[in-house]
Amino acid sequence: MNAEIRPVKTAAEIGLADLFASARDSLPGGRNAEAIRRDAFDRFAVQGLPHSRIEAWKYTDLRRLLRDAKPLVQRPDAPARSVGREAGAVFAGLALRRLVIVDGAFAPELSDLTGLDAGVAVRATAEALGADEMVLPLEMAGTDAVAALNTAFAADGVVITVAPGAVVERPIHLVFVTTGTAPAAMFTRSRLELGSGAALTLVETYEGPDQSDYQVNAALQVDVGNEARLDHLKITGEGAAALHIATFEASIGAGASYRDIGITTGGAVVRNQLFLRLTGEGAVANVYQASLLSGRQHADTTLVVDHAAVGSQSREVFKAVVDDEARAVFQGRITVQPGAQQTDARMMARALLLSDEAVANCKPELEIFADDVQCGHGTTTGALDEQLKFYLMARGIPEKQAEALLIQAFVGEVIDAVAHDELREALTQAMLDWLKERD
């Protein structure tokens, strides 16, 4: 008898295979894209969903957390679109240029496309794919299975290009919103090309209904040209039962500066994976991430910063506030390629555990192949400082409020990193709202 070893497929893996078989002919893209999608799905099929024995997914066992594959989302109807009009309320009132993506599809009629700043061009991903004018594979994510899934299924999103030298004053806000109450899966792919010397502030927000256990697999590829400057702010505020997986890739050119601020408050299971590559001399990347978790939330932030050029610099700050039975995961890796001398990289990860059932798993890594470097990382994990709390309470501040103040100070470092004044204020308010919900 032939004892062939065949990995046991989970229901979700089988579901995804069926989904791909039925959807692949209708996905946008020319002949070229079709081959890439097929190849990507095969790569996924070989490895299956990532599980805890895959080092990069050690603390997020997707085989367990993603129980079943949801059907691909339907094109949004009129009521869905009206929901989209209200979305992105966190930054309502700010003069952001809204580009709305409803149920994974770019909605131009809800987006603010009039009077685009000079040098800025926006189009739907589906359109770019149809014209075979978009790179599909997520190269920096390597063999990662969920990135491969995104490549296989990605149907829409936005493609933004900023011409060299264009300094865009008005921040662009990508509003991703899920509307339906029926469980559905959506795969979006977006791309931003920032020409050399250009400057932009990009905001991404994700939201959806609490009642639906929808699944989002989003990817954003960014190319920051030489001497360009990009401020990127992402708020993962998905519905309470949602699964959110996002892959972010950025290539940062010589003398360019990239600043990333990420805040995770929503979603049942969240995985934000960021791959940054500093490709030019003197490139700078600053990453600030915060997770505010409660209930049974699970949020994983995995970050790889690859220093591939001389004299590049990076700073990473990660803060997690974990309450109830929530779990926060941070995996951060700083890689210094051979020859990337004079690299200066620092990483700091801190977790604040507010309850006895809360869990924080932290894995900061250094991987260094050059000798003339300065690299370091630090992590701390602990509860709120009782003495600080006592100090505040002794001054007449009620316990809950004292805690809130200390938490605010703890997360403050991340929010203070937002350069745009109005955005920062709006974020501070959002954090205060989260703290209020704790009571």
Binding site: A360, E365, F369
Partner: protein, 498 residues
């Protein structure tokens, strides 16, 4: 001209190997048939005159091993090991039954002499006896268990230790003489199913040391084991078991060397420590297996499982290691902090040069209340080596008040090497306080310039800085080891500058 000549000499000096212990002892030896099977396991067990329970224990481990897969998660790269192409047992052929040291093969005695390990108690006593009260620490008595390939050839100071109630003997003897202790503790810290190499070791381990310190006894001298791989194509699978009963203290040293050979040799040891209430174990290692030649050929594969169990309240286990040898090191001395208020410590210096690959670190598993641990790791990578620190700190739900402090620093010498840090920090308890910091850098030009300006050569200056870098760990070593380790560090780094 003279200067040029000197440079040439120096470069030549770099090319030849700096390993001082690479000689081979030519003696007759008895080996198990090549390869691994149930027969091999039975052969080893029979050679050791083991009781049946021990054989069954081994066989169970062997059967489990057959179902296991070699781990691949470590950052080490080596051709697949053919486990059937090894000898699992090699023992110097006894001329007759050995009853005293004089009857040991003089070749073996010479080997240990060359290595600087005193096996003759008299040699220790002949010297000027230090006056009471002004004991010269470098001349303190050390009891030595010498393991040559698969067997223990001599254990010194047995009688004196016996007076104190301390049992110090080869584990093969302990299995026969103290089965109740061995049965109770063997495999209780590192179970036979623990990992691929530990399971292999459980099946075929041949010798090692056994230490039992009775309640309330402070072991009167340092205990030490010296491991030597001599035979070609053999794997060494030693097993060490140390039990510190309530309120006792023991300090244990371990040293290792092997001849210079072109083929790789396997060393897969298991060390188990058990500390009961209020007991303390201090375990120090200077690992100097043959690291391979300057082209990366040969050297020992060092795949070791070391774990200590702070089983009792207020117990303490401290690991100190100086790792300079081996082609590949895969070693994570760990502490299970089970007892309340127990404490684990890990001090490590790992130096890699040439083509060495080190993946080493520790695990601190906090289970009891108010447990604390401290990790100080210093990695130095030179040449074309890869040096990885991999460590886990975890606090379980009931480990309230757990505390950890970790500092791992790496130093890179040259631009062809790599230094990596992979810590895992898992807190499942809000009252746990974990702190971790790591840095990687090269030796500051300013500091070197300062030293050279004051007349030190480049190499001396680097040596000085490196010794300063590792000082925190060296201070944890017993005196006689610290001196040796300091010398070893300068040898390992020779030729790595410039």
């Amino acid at each position: 001209m003279a200067a040029v000549q000197e440079t040439i000499e120096q470069v030549r000096g770099i090319d030849v190997d700096q390993y001082r212990y690479g000689f081979e002892t030519l003696i007759d030896s008895e080996k198990a048939p090549k390869g691994l099977s149930e027969e091999t396991v039975k052969f080893i067990s029979q050679k050791k005159n083991e009781p049946d329970w021990m054989l069954q224990w081994r066989l169970e481990a062997y059967r489990r091993w057959l179902t296991m897969q070699e781990p691949t998660w470590a950052r080490v790269d080596y051709p697949r090991i053919d486990f059937q192409d090894l000898y699992y047992y090699a023992a110097p052929k006894p001329k007759k039954t050995v009853s005293s040291l004089d009857e040991i093969d003089p070749e073996i005695l010479k080997t240990y002499e060359k290595l600087g390990i005193p096996l003759r108690e008299v040699a220790m006593l002949e010297g000027v006896e230090p006056k009471p009260g002004e004991e010269d620490p470098a001349r303190r008595k050390i009891a030595v268990d010498a393991v040559f390939d698969s067997v223990s050839v001599a254990t010194t100071f047995k009688a004196e230790l016996k007076k104190a109630g301390v049992i110090f003997m080869p584990i093969s003897e302990a299995i026969r003489e103290h089965p109740e202790l061995v049965q109770k503790y063997l495999g209780s810290v590192v179970p036979t199913s623990d990992n691929f190499y530990a399971t292999l070791n459980s099946a075929v381990f041949s010798d090692g040391s056994f230490v039992y310190v009775p309640p309330g006894v402070r072991c009167p001298m340092e205990l030490s084991t010296y491991f030597r791989i001599n035979e070609r194509n053999t794997g060494q699978f030693e097993r060490t078991l140390i039990i510190a009963d309530k309120g006792s203290y023991v300090s244990y040293l371990e040293g290792c060397t092997a001849p210079q050979r072109d083929e790789n040799q396997l060393h897969a040891a298991v060390v188990e420590l058990v500390a009961l209430d209020d007991a303390e174990i201090k375990y120090s290692t200077v690992q100097n297996w043959y690291p391979g030649n300057s082209e990366g050929k040969g050297g020992i594969y060092n795949f070791v499982t070391k774990r200590g169990d702070c089983r009792g309240a207020n117990s303490k286990i401290s690991w100190t290691q100086v790792e300079t040898g081996s082609a590949i090191t895969w070693k994570y001395p760990s502490c299970i902090l089970r007892g309340d208020n127990s404490r684990g410590e890990f001090y490590s210096i790992a130096i890699s040069n040439g083509f060495q690959q080190v993946d080493s670190g520790t695990k601190m598993i906090h289970l009891g209340k108010n447990t604390s641990s401290r990790i100080i790791s210093k990695g130095i990578a030179a040449g074309k080596s890869q040096n990885t620190y991999r460590g886990l700190v975890t606090a379980h739900r009931k480990a309230t008040g757990a505390r950890n402090f970790t500092a791992c620093d790496s130093l890179l010498i040259g631009d062809k090497c790599g230094a990596h840090t992979v810590p895992y920090i898992e807190a499942k308890n809000s009252s746990a306080t974990f702190e971790h910091e790591a840095t990687t850098s090269k030796i500051s030009e300013d500091v070197l310039f300062y030293c050279i300006q004051r007349g030190l050569s480049q190499e001396e200056a680097v040596g000085l800085v490196v010794n300063g870098f590792v000082k925190d760990v060296l201070q944890q070593l017993p005196m006689e080891f610290a001196v040796e380790a300091q010398k070893l560090i300068s040898i390992s780094l020779e030729g790595s500058v410039g």
